[in-house]
Subunit: 472 residues, 2 copies
Amino acid sequence: MSKAAIVGGGVIGGGWAARFLLNGWDVAVFDLDPEAERKISAVLTNARRSLPSLYDRALPPEGRLTFHADLAEAIDGADWVQESVSERLEVKLRVYREISRHAPDLLIGSSTSGFKASELTSEGAKVVVVHPFNPVYLLPLIELSGDPALCARAEILVRSIGMYPLTLRKENDAFIGNRFQEAVWREALWMIRDGYATTAEVDEAIRLGFGLRWGQMGMFETYRIAGGEAGFESYLAQFGPSLSWPWSKLTDVPELDDALVRQITSQSDAQSGMRSIRELEQMRDDNLVGFIRSLRHSGTAAGKVVLDHEAGLPEGGDHLGLPITSSRQVPQTWTDYNGHMNEACYLEAGSWATDGLMRRIGVDAAYISSGYSFFTVDTRLRYLAEVHAGDRLTITTQVLAGEGRKMQLFHRIWRGDGVLSATIETLLLHTDLASRRSCPPMPAVADRLAELHAAHAGMSAEGAGGAVGDRG
Amino acid sequence: MSKAAIVGGGVIGGGWAARFLLNGWDVAVFDLDPEAERKISAVLTNARRSLPSLYDRALPPEGRLTFHADLAEAIDGADWVQESVSERLEVKLRVYREISRHAPDLLIGSSTSGFKASELTSEGAKVVVVHPFNPVYLLPLIELSGDPALCARAEILVRSIGMYPLTLRKENDAFIGNRFQEAVWREALWMIRDGYATTAEVDEAIRLGFGLRWGQMGMFETYRIAGGEAGFESYLAQFGPSLSWPWSKLTDVPELDDALVRQITSQSDAQSGMRSIRELEQMRDDNLVGFIRSLRHSGTAAGKVVLDHEAGLPEGGDHLGLPITSSRQVPQTWTDYNGHMNEACYLEAGSWATDGLMRRIGVDAAYISSGYSFFTVDTRLRYLAEVHAGDRLTITTQVLAGEGRKMQLFHRIWRGDGVLSATIETLLLHTDLASRRSCPPMPAVADRLAELHAAHAGMSAEGAGGAVGDRG
């Protein structure tokens, strides 16, 4: 079990705490704010309903969360310190001095979005910039900067908790992401101030247009497409000249005076004031989960980060004498207007269990690439108890038949509270992917399937074998 | 049947042609480039596989596409002209003069991203700026600018083809979206030139971080959350000062000289050159479809635009004597590693058909808000033929039972080529959403269900009533 010390328990520190806890780390929080526990608990509530939803496999059991008013106590035995105190250099340096005094070799990541690593290491502490984006528990990007050897250690750490380290080539004010955001922010302030657009209109202009492109490809790959087969050079030739057009206000910075502040806040109230911050957070998180889950399908961008992380998560085990072929948390995106898991998502869960069973008998990605798979031909689902977003599901699989081309499986979907929520009986045929015709599996697969069938043959399969509407 | 004339058949003109065609409009393209037909056909191929995938209801039958070397012929009988010729004012004005000569009252939308409406109307033609974002067939944003009465007509038009008009409050160089993109573009050019990041690193910094936030909430609503319960003012107080920090290079514009062009193109080749433009387009489109489909779940941003549009699409009809309860195209996101529609998506399709049947008997959104719905308790799916991305599905529903609390349905999923690809037999119980217990439906619903049952009772239901593995 690893331990992270979180120094500074605001929204960012809380996001780090959640990211570590949900990846199985123990977390010790140091913050003198009496509200820290309440604030972190609120972040953790959001994280618990969203981060596990990115994955189609269960995350490790949650670590232990403790709060400390003493820094030395918080960092005792820690493998990592993440500092997220306020953006004042003297405060940060004081924290580092104190940490170094107790544990001179402890690696410290700073969440700073403004200070360079060279400024932070002036006291000799082992500090690297480990700059996250809010919500820390969902967004994968980390901007890393500092001593190369320390950065290399930090890279391994952030990958292990499902994040993507982007190590900066050289020190850079505001790193990369915030420089871009800052540029747009200033431009937007001018637009509001000059009455060209309201805050709501600015947001629509972003989220209904280029924002959708940027979330999956960024800017250069998007523009590369615009250049067409002629290559990126043709794009630059076509659009380069507009760089010198006087479109942007950015040669100047608007004064954020009272009038502009009032203008922005009242527009923002009109746009979003009907929803509480908590509601907005949950909407944001549900949408982020939806985006990232959809990127799993193409295996690109944030979807690739999740898939890479998921591949290392443990699977397997047994429950009531049957193999656990899938365990997971139910994403918000699986619920419907009846306030529970949609009927089709039971089958999606079952589909993961079929995949899990297939991997157990050797039908893995390599086997499928070799040209063979199983195709489902007949399936019956019995819905026995409602399932809700956030519920943990454990699916066991009993092999009812496994001879020749046929594989008949019986999945039981167990809710975290031990209630059997559904059974899925499914018949598959081993198939040649080239001819799309059924054929016998390779001998090794047939043997392992037969073994499982023999082991499960004597067990009850109550609820299998009937027609729709049959009891039992 | 409405008709759109597309003047200028490049990537943007092609995107418009596809958007109109797939929404049932006839489209006449005028472009003197002998490659226009090939180029538009390539865009149309991409659009056909992605735009219908945003919807869970079929779009109208595709309109007719014609190509013309004569402008007067192309605009003859048109309800709308969309001009997407090159960004040279004298070329655009010549086109408008020619159109006005033949049809002085015809409304012309210009796809310009640079010229103001006042510049375009200098010849007296009825021109408004109708500025789209690429790919035009997927991204909903339209920036509208010009005479208010003409803009009002244009708003109705773009809504009718599933887009979102953002009408500018006053004329503005580069409108809104491109001003933001331009700001980031310049900042990125500096970063590349100064060696802080490669094009790939810039894209990761965007798509793994704030890009995911912007695609669903934009900037102001995102930052509002960062302000917390204290309101937006507290955010401005906290982050406002950094505006005057020297983070941004934007007080200056980098020269796009040969060295910088070579640097960018070689980095872009290293980042994306292993994929053809066609492959990148399809990846972009699949990801956009995934994003927008995921936003349907929360009903926000681009998801809301699609839902609003979908609500007006026709539904219903009969096929082989049974009601059509759902018709749709199969999204790319519904396919799996076997190269066909995933087993769970058959049930998702069936779930839409159950909803369609429920609406027919009066169990609509209002009925469900009144506290009652149907819950599925038992379902069997027989997989009879493979279904692929882009296939059109028509689902009919036969009522097998409809007395008391029980409703037993038999869905048949017909592929566009007339092949029966699956049957779904499903038993539902009418349920009180407060107590989560079954109860009889309201009399009006019970009557309509009984009528359908009586009408379908004499019909064959081959394939219903069996257990998993039963033939027939």
